[in-house]
């Protein structure tokens, strides 16, 4: 999957700019606040319909402007795809090859993208929601339908939470909680099975990458814990009982306490929890392994590597990890867009762009 050219209009600090990328490594350099990350954010937004930085699209507009326009030419399996996204009056319109796209989910996932920034390090030390987000975003890229499954599940959780907050009559509440529990089991089981399956796939490839990164010294082990249990079959068998057992506690605390919305991924380095014991360096190797693992899995599923966006990541890696990453990218021919503040490191034969106050100039 390749991006050929990318146009930005009234997006963030850009008036009207175009960048033409090469199939290999594209490096964007420039001082802080010049608009390097905005290019990466724009590409991510065009491909996923979302920004990873802001919730409201309004904030993506250039100051004083009322609409922004992003478009670009892509190549997927030798097919040319022209993708456009236009935002105006709180409405977003997406066109694929000039044809309006009714629903966002119709095109999301056609062109895959893996994004890596220093913020991703929170995946190791942060709370379970960060790790669930990682696995959910990954599944959403390769399994159409997963997003609507998650949305339906979240709706059930909201309804059940609302129910827990309304009634005071306990017997009435019990019978009605059962209704939502039935759907928590039905939809939750599907979510758990998919997360477990994809976690096992990631574990396999990421472990290999992590071993290479640490010269075979350390072992990475990632597993999905459903309902607090590592054995998924057991967890699913006990799901109805667990929901019943928690009911009194749920009524008391007025919130849903069990289900995949509270699950976690456990990451072990040499059998020790990474959340507690991983050093700064180990965290970086770990997240790098997960991201490269994700690249590899998307290739296995789709037959092509996705686009790789690295936002200010290289400065965070030591020279050994940096070289490993660059070698991985070059030997696998992954189209990559990298931002950094200066061109001190050697990045192969790729293209170099200078970004200055909303203008992009190719240097090499």
């Amino acid at each position: 999957m390749n991006i050929i050219d990318f146009h930005l209009q009234n997006f963030r600090n850009y008036d009207k700019e175009v960048v033409t990328f090469i199939p290999g490594i594209n490096t964007l350099i420039g001082n802080n606040g010049q608009g390097k990350t905005n290019i990466i954010e724009g590409i991510y937004y065009l491909l996923t319909g979302k920004s990873y930085r802001v919730k409201r699209e309004h904030e993506l507009l250039k100051w004083d402007k009322t609409d922004f326009h992003l478009y670009g030419d892509f190549i997927v399996k030798h097919h040319k795809i022209f993708l456009e996204s236009h935002y105006q009056n709180n409405k977003k319109r997406v066109k694929v090859n000039q044809v309006p796209c009714q629903r966002l989910s119709d095109f999301v996932g056609t062109i895959n993208v893996v994004f890596f920034s220093p913020d991703d390090l929170i995946m190791v030390k942060g709370g379970p929601s960060e790790r669930r987000r990682f696995i959910d975003l990954h599944i959403a890229q390769i399994r159409p339908g997963y997003v609507s499954l998650l949305n339906a599940y979240n709706k059930v959780i909201q309804q059940k939470n609302a129910l827990l907050k309304t009634y005071n009559d306990k017997s009435l509440k019990n019978s009605q909680l059962q209704l939502w529990n039935a759907q928590i089991i039905e939809l939750g089981t599907k979510i758990i099975l998919q997360r477990d399956e994809l976690t096992k796939q990631i574990q396999k490839v990421a472990d290999q990458i992590y071993m290479n990164l640490t010269s075979q010294k350390e072992k990475l082990d990632i597993s999905y814990y459903a309902l607090g249990k590592k054995n998924i079959q057991d967890a699913l068998l006990e799901f109805p009982d667990l929901l019943n057992q928690k009911m009194d506690q749920e009524i008391e605390r007025q919130m849903v306490l069990i289900g995949p919305h509270r699950d976690d991924l456990q990451i072990l380095l040499d059998d020790k929890p990474a959340r507690l014991y991983a050093s700064q360096g180990q965290q970086r190797s770990l997240v790098l392994s997960l991201k490269l693992g994700e690249l590899e899995l998307i290739r296995q599923e789709k037959g092509e590597y996705p686009l790789l966006l690295l936002d200010d990541v290289l400065s965070e890696l030591d020279s050994f990890r940096r070289n490993y990453l660059i070698e991985f990218i070059e030997s696998s021919h992954i189209q990559t867009i990298i931002t950094m503040t200066s061109a001190e490191s050697q990045l192969g034969s790729g293209a170099l762009f200078q970004v200055e106050q909303g203008h992009i100039r190719r240097e090499r």
Binding site: L149, A152, Q176, L179, A182, Q183
Partner: protein
């Protein structure tokens, strides 16, 4: 809001129209000016709304809107009183009647369970439903395939099954005459789950 620039009666008319579903402030303004220029149409419309409001009530048996109580469907001796179809809104009865496939009787819930909107079983017409089960052999749930619709169907199934009544649900899946190509993944997945042997 440009309401302030209108005389009070006109502003009131526009804001009343804008409260209707599917009508935004601009359409409301256009409708209001049209009504002012067409006094006869306004007169007829106002009369029709008042008459409908005064003469329509909920049927004491099925809760559908009707001008006579019990409603025409409930009074019709041709309808099969062993089958009962439960729907969310009165307009769903119209949709089902258009098919001429269902020969039984209806029950309108006027909503589905939704704790977020404060709707529990007591806000729906479930008590009325429980009163009319004599002789009923099958209850068909024709509720929308949303999480709220599913919860409501399950709630009713749990009430009705112990009484020895067969509870069924209408199938969800592909629209007839539709193209597999144009259906979304969730619909196709649902349709696959509900596949039948040929």
């Amino acid at each position: 809001m440009d309401f302030l620039n209108y005389p009070q009666p006109l502003a009131d008319l526009i804001s009343s129209l804008a409260r209707l579903p599917g009508i935004g402030p601009k359409t409301a303004g256009r409708l209001a000016f049209y009504l002012l220029q067409q006094p006869q149409i306004s007169q007829d419309l106002a009369q029709a709304i008042l008459t409908a409001n005064h003469s329509l009530k909920k049927c004491s048996i099925c809760s559908n809107f009707t001008d006579q109580d019990p409603c025409a469907l409930c009074q019709n001796p041709q309808r099969d009183s062993t089958e009962l179809c439960v729907v969310e809104h009165p307009r769903d009865v119209v949709s089902l009647e258009k098919t001429k496939e269902f020969k039984g009787r209806y029950h309108v819930l006027h909503g589905v369970l939704s704790p977020m909107e404060g709707i529990g079983p007591e806000q729906l017409t479930i008590n009325l439903l429980l009163k009319r089960l004599k002789g009923v052999q099958e209850v068909v749930m024709a509720l929308n395939p949303t999480v709220e619709g599913e919860a409501t169907a399950l709630y009713l199934a749990r009430l009705l099954k112990p009484l020895g009544i067969k509870v069924t649900r209408i199938a969800h899946g592909l629209p007839v005459g539709g193209d597999l190509e144009y259906a979304d993944e969730v619909t196709i997945a649902r349709a696959l789950e509900g596949r039948r042997q040929l």
